[in-house]
């Protein structure tokens, strides 16, 4: 649903003020409240459902499979499905591709290693039930919670099986918690001379540019990218504003990680 010209100019002017007046009254470094619900899919190794205050909702499931390490390039595969978008749309494809890349880059393969020969391969399935704004940040929070709540079967056979032609065997019911430190992706919107985190739909509509910033292991890391949030208001942004966005994420991310871990 597109906004009217006057709505857009009202929003744009409000967000250009110093400090920015966001449409829901949030301060620049405040995210929308979210509700998380983990471990509810019995057939999966880990799952999380996340819902934001604007009604956006996202379900993530993690399933594991034992694979031969030599044969697999990537041990994590992400599949994204966004309600209302075609599966082959560039938007969905690029989100899946980006998440696969980031997760494989930031999660060390040794965490998934099972034996000399075998490893777990994780299949992360993302289903965005409804999304009003750019869903990437919400998806990454859900993936984070799901991976943190993932339990994998416990290995009982020897882990040195390079010479033996034997498949790994697992304990009947004991599970081991997956110990990983998944990255978080944040979106910021640059409007005028301001940068705000976690833009809502209306804010995205008038943003000059959106910036995707990754947070992993206590610092801002690549990938950092500009993303187009709308067609009308996109312009070039000042060099310093990119830095401002990065600083904004640096300021916010530790609290978000703490909140997500504190569950």
């Amino acid at each position: 649903m597109s906004l009217s010209v006057t709505e857009k100019s009202y929003l744009h002017d409000s967000l250009c003020l110093d400090p920015p007046a966001r449409p829901d009254g949030r301060v620049a470094h405040q995210l929308r409240p979210i509700e998380i619900f983990t471990d509810f899919l019995p057939a999966c190794n880990g799952s999380a459902k996340i819902s934001a205050s604007d009604g956006s909702e996202c379900v993530v499931s993690v399933k594991a499979k034992v694979v031969e390490r030599a044969l697999e390039e990537e041990l994590i595969l992400v599949d994204v499905d966004v309600a209302g978008q075609r599966d082959d749309s560039p938007f969905v494809h690029s989100i899946a591709s980006l998440l696969t890349k980031v997760l494989n880059q930031k999660i060390h393969q040794k965490n998934l290693r099972l034996t000399q020969k075998y490893a777990f391969k994780l299949f992360v399935d993302v289903l965005v039930l409804s999304s009003k704004s750019h869903p990437l940040s919400l998806i990454s929070f859900a993936v984070y919670s799901a991976l943190k709540a993932t339990y994998l079967p416990k290995l009982i056979s020897s882990d040195d099986d390079l010479e033996v032609a034997e498949l790994p065997t697992f304990h009947d019911y004991d599970m081991v918690k997956l110990d990983v430190d998944p990255p978080l992706l944040f979106t910021t919107a640059v409007i005028g001379n301001n940068a705000v985190i976690d833009p809502a739909h209306s804010e995205s509509e008038v943003a000059c540019s959106g910036i995707l910033v990754t947070w992993s292991k206590g610092k801002v890391t690549a990938p950092i990218r500009t993303i187009g949030l709308n067609d009308e208001y996109v312009t070039g942004i000042d060099v310093t504003l990119l830095e401002k966005s990065i600083e904004l994420v640096e300021k916010t991310a530790p609290a978000v990680v703490k909140a997500l871990d504190g569950l």
Partner: protein
């Protein structure tokens, strides 16, 4: 007659073999341009796709970067009328295709197209073209990365430059001559003489000593080189 080889289709009896013109003369016309920009050699030719509204062919060789080699063709179709609902500004679509060797996954290609589209949405004056569409096609003819590797970052500046040249050839209104520079895997696309960023792509971490400011500065330098080479070419050929 019974000696005729029936396994082949020989064509009529009076057929003559194709004869190609000798390639010695007149190939070097005024549209060719080879520019040395920094440690790269740029070869630009506009308007070689005749059925497109604008096109540009770009060849980049960087002997210093382990013989990195890029051959890229960008063609612009439009602005042409779109059907269906009214839209106040032109719809932009960018398609990327590798013609020879497929080195990138489908997902990566989509990411690249999305990124390029977001760059050019900020640059093309889309408000001037209501109810129309602009379609841009990129053909990567050849890409040899440093020591045989392939990375998306390496071709993004070339893509941006090629599209910009093709847009100029098509006479489509843009706000500035956009170009991009890269430094150690970070690509930044600038306008307004390097004051404003329209696209930022970093898939690798910054250097530990070189921080953000250094990266931006290096990219800006590369951008200015690239842009000047493009402007040079345009001024000389027109």
């Amino acid at each position: 007659m019974n000696v005729a080889d029936r396994r082949r289709i020989l064509g009529p009896l009076n057929a003559k073999p194709l004869q190609f013109a000798s390639a010695d003369g007149n190939l070097q016309d005024a549209h060719l341009q080879e520019t040395q920009s920094g440690d790269e050699t740029l070869y630009i030719q506009q308007g070689i796709v005749t059925n497109a509204n604008g096109s540009a062919y770009l060849e980049i060789a960087s002997p210093t970067k382990n013989d990195q080699h890029i051959l890229l063709l960008a063609s612009v179709y439009g602005p042409r009328p779109t059907r269906g609902t009214f839209s106040a500004r032109a719809a932009l679509s960018i398609q990327f295709k590798e013609n020879t060797l497929e080195q990138f996954t489908a997902g990566e290609v989509k990411e690249l197209c999305n990124f390029l589209a977001s760059v050019f949405r900020a640059v093309i004056n889309l408000n001037r073209y209501p109810k129309s569409g602009i379609d841009i096609f990129l053909n990567l003819i050849q890409y040899v990365g440093p020591s045989g590797t392939s990375s998306l970052e390496a071709i993004i500046p070339a893509c941006i430059n090629a599209i910009m040249l093709a847009l100029i050839d098509a006479g489509i209104e843009t706000l500035d001559t956009v170009s991009a520079g890269s430094y150690k895997g970070t690509v930044i696309s600038f306008i307004r003489n390097g004051d404003e960023i329209v696209g930022f792509w970093a898939d690798n971490d910054f250097d530990n000593n070189g921080s953000y400011a250094v990266t931006v500065d290096k990219c800006r330098r590369h951008y200015i080189q690239n842009r000047n080479a493009m402007l040079d070419y345009i001024v000389k050929t027109k």
